[in-house]
Amino acid sequence: MLLLGPGAMFLLLFFFSPLLFVLAESLRGAQGQVTLARYGEVLSDAQFRIVFVRTLKMALIVTPIAVIVAYPSAYLMTKVSAGKKSILMSLVILPLMTSPVARTYAWIVILGKYGIVNQTMGALGLFKEPARMMYTEGAIIVGLLQLFLPIMVLTLVSAMENVQEEVEEAALSLGSGRIGCFFRVIVPLSFDGLIMGVTLVFTGCITAYVTPAILGGAKVLTLATLMRQEALVLMNWEAATVIAVIMIATTLLLYNGLRLFKPRNLV
């Protein structure tokens, strides 16, 4: 217990106390009474609703795409030789370790007014004039996908590494094709990893700040950029506090909700 003391003290003082303070703040009325009035205000605000729905929608788009792209790639990565795997793994880790500002900035170069897409399309005569792709939901979705794909790949690789080669062979020898074997054996056996990956990516999308800040700007707000705007631009601390609590609540709900999923009997 002595060993846990310093760490526990630190978290209690500098992590949990501030959180509880913010939670209390969000519930405190003008006369010091406990009230949900602030939540009512924020939740009934039309702009908040649009932003909240938009944020959820983008997470709901990004997460399945990440799963569909990452699963086959991760599966293949568990099958290649150790040497190739280590190269592929470092290609996955590299973006994860690179500054998200730098990574997201790349999309300005690609999607901007004079970016690759517009230049190419213009040269091919497909666009009469540059299309506006920056500051759209599409841009944020692309950025989020690039940001979170590596996390999905890593969790799936580590989940599938534990599936014995022989179990797959047993399925094949019993008559499953490669695809049948993937869905009946590999997916159920890596299901915990899938849930973990989905949780991380989904909550990541909902709370990401850098990507919507750069690619959405003030035009396409998400929960994170809205919260910053309320706090630092509009100095509406009450609203920011409520949004902060809603963010935590959404995250915790997802963490615990998704954990309840058990691999269905897919056979």
Partner: protein, 355 residues
């Protein structure tokens, strides 16, 4: 045409580096054939080539008259039992066994009965709902077996299926496998490195070494008349002496070993072509030797280095003609401090191989 025919097979894990080269083997319907050999001898490669996990670079795999060379494993009707069982950890015993039936689109109403029958066959009735993690090693083995025989395969392949069990369970499962084979009449190919397993189960044994077949034959052929020095060594002819052939008669070869004369009346395929003057090796088992004081035919002088008491028997480490020899004799170690003795080997216990 045999039931299984492998012809001109080149196969291995890496392209261009075949473990099996120009490999031939044939197995008859209803046989239980063991592939016996040390690790790396190509027995598992052979098994995986038959199963379809290794596609031969060259040659043909024919089963039941049909060319399977390019058929993927899931389209071959072959049962496979793995060394580590490879049960589906997320499925119950029932679903594990049902897996292959469902892939074969067996009518839903037939499945429960088929599973009940096969579980009864392997004495696992009542375990349907258990997960593999809730079973003992022997029970997992039975599930693996049930899972692969319930699909009524043309052929059952077993890859060292007993090597993860303890000695007592291994004996039980061996008897069980034997019973199943007789009861079902299914053709089985059994990979093992354990000669006792191969001898007790098989109708035929194929001894392999470095991708080649050293010898094929009945368990008795292999055990009593090993055809090559490798096989002799593998089935327990641990001792060897070298000598020169002096006389060859029809069922009798005389060899001189450093001044002592040995007669062998055990004629093997190779010994047939011997002629006087050939350099040969004499192979014999430790328990086919006896130690005496008397000189005479088929004896040679030796020195006892040390003796180990083993209960029923005593094991002697000897030095004979500069070779280390192990001799096992019934009873307690010889009393006294005899060091110099003579070792005798019966003519019918001695095999001769050209070196």
């Amino acid at each position: 045409m045999s039931f299984i025919e492998l012809t001109n097979i080149d196969a291995g894990y890496e392209k261009g580096k075949p473990i099996l080269k120009d490999f031939h083997v044939s197995v008859e319907q209803g046989e239980l054939v063991s592939l016996l050999g040390p690790s790396g001898c190509g027995k598992t490669t052979t098994l995986r080539t038959i199963a379809g996990f290794i596609m031969a670079e060259k040659g043909k795999v024919v089963i039941g008259g049909r060319d399977y060379s390019n058929v993927p494993p899931n389209k071959r009707n072959i049962g496979l039992v793995f060394q580590n069982y490879a049960l589906f950890p997320h499925l119950s015993v029932y679903d594990n066994v049902a897996y292959g039936l469902r892939r074969r689109k067996v009518a839903k109403e037939l499945i429960p009965e088929k599973i009940a029958n096969v579980l009864k066959l392997v004495s696992l009735t009542g375990y349907e709902k258990r997960l593999p993690s809730e079973l003992s090693g022997g029970q997992r083995q039975r599930v693996a077996l049930a899972r692969s025989i319930v699909i009524e395969p043309d052929l059952l392949l077993l890859d060292e299926p007993l090597s993860n069990l303890d000695a007592k369970l291994r004996d039980e499962m061996r008897a069980e496998l034997s019973r199943l084979q007789h009861q079902l009449g299914i053709t089985m190919i059994y990979v093992t490195h354990d000669q006792v397993e191969a001898l007790s189960l098989s109708s035929r044994i194929i001894v392999m070494n470095e991708g080649n077949i050293e010898q094929m034959g009945t368990p008795e052929d292999i055990y009593e008349r090993p055809a090559t020095p490798f096989v002799a060594n593998f089935v327990g002819f641990d001792n060897s002496l070298t000598g020169t052939v002096r006389a060859v008669q029809k069922h009798r070869v005389t060899v001189e070993v450093n001044g002592s004369s040995f007669v062998s009346t055990r004629v093997t395929q190779v010994a047939g072509g011997l002629s006087p003057g050939d350099q040969v090796a004499l192979f014999f088992r430790p328990d086919d030797t006896s130690l005496t004081d008397e000189a005479g035919e088929n004896t040679i002088a030796g020195e006892i280095l040390y003796v180990n008491y083993q209960g029923n028997t005593s094991s002697y480490a000897l030095k004979v003609d500069q070779e280390s020899i192990r001799a096992v004799m019934p009873g307690r170690p010889m009393s006294g401090d005899t060091r110099e003795i003579r070792m005798r080997i019966d003519p019918e216990k001695l095999i001769i191989e050209r070196v």
